[in-house]
Symmetry: C2
DNA sequence: CAGGATCCCGCAGGATACTG
DNA sequence: CAGTATCCTGCGGGATCCTG
C-alpha cells in the first residue's frame, strides 16, 4: 500500500499523468480510439461536442505522451490516421473500469443531486 | 461491450460522471479519503496545492453526488469530518487502477514528452 | 480533408480578508 | 477550526476564417 510515489505530492510525475486524465476530452478520445485507427473527421463526429481546436490539441497531447500514434498518408485529399500505441492501449483497462462505474452509478448520482438541491 | 449508454453522447448522464472525474481535485480528494474519515484541515494539508476554496467546493460537489458524507460535531472549536459513503468507496477500485497505471507509466510518459519536445 | 491562426468571452480557481 | 465572501486574472475552449 505504501507507494514509492506519492500522487498527492505536487511534484510527483504521476500527478502529471493524473492531470492528463483530468482533461475533459482525453478519456473520451482514448475510448473513441479503442476499436482501432480513426481519422480526424471520424473522431470529430464520434466525440460529441468536441471542437476542432480541442480535438487537435488533445490529440497532440496524447501523441506527445506516446499514447497515440499519428500517421500521415501522402495522398490527396490528405488522410491522417490516429491509433493507440501499446501504452495507450494499456490505459484502456483502467479507463473502461471507470466508465463502467460511471454507467453503474449515474442514476444514483442524479438522484443524490436532486435530493441535495431540494434541501438547499 | 455494446453498452446501453453512450458516454460519448453529449446528453448521456454517464458523461456527467466522467466530467466529475475530470475534475482536477476529485480524484486526489477521494484518494485522500480512502483510509477513513478526515477533517477539513487534514485534507488541506494532505492534498498538496489545493486552495481552501477548491477544497470546499470539491467537497461540496462530492457530497452533492452522494459520494462523501459530511458530519458536523457540535463542539468548540468546530470539528467536521468527511468520509466516503458506500458509493464513494466503490469508486476507489477503478480509481486506484488508474493511479496504479499512472505510477507504472509515468516514466515512459516523461521520456516520450522529452523526445517529442526535442523534435519539435 | 486535416489542420493552423486569431479573436474573444466566461469562468475556473487563486489570494486575501472576514466570521461563527 | 472550518468555512464564507469578494475581488481579480489567466487561460480553457468555442467560433470563425484561412491554407496546403
Amino acid at each position: 500500500m505504501t507507494q514509492p510515489w506519492d500522487p498527492y505530492a505536487r511534484g510527483c510525475p504521476s500527478r502529471v499523468v493524473l492531470d492528463r486524465i483530468g482533461d475533459r476530452w482525453t478519456v473520451l478520445l482514448v475510448g473513441a480510439l479503442a476499436d482501432g485507427p480513426r481519422r480526424f473527421g471520424e473522431l470529430a463526429r464520434d466525440v460529441d461536442g468536441i471542437s476542432q481546436k480541442m480535438l487537435t490539441q488533445t490529440l497532440r497531447s496524447l501523441e506527445r505522451d506516446g499514447l497515440v500514434r499519428r500517421t500521415v498518408h501522402a495522398v490527396v485529399p490528405p488522410r491522417v490516421d490516429y491509433e493507440l500505441t501499446d501504452a495507450g492501449r494499456s490505459l484502456l483497462g483502467p479507463l473502461s473500469a471507470l466508465t463502467a462505474w460511471a454507467v453503474d452509478h449515474m442514476d444514483d448520482i442524479v438522484v443524490a443531486r436532486e435530493q441535495f438541491d431540494a434541501v438547499t
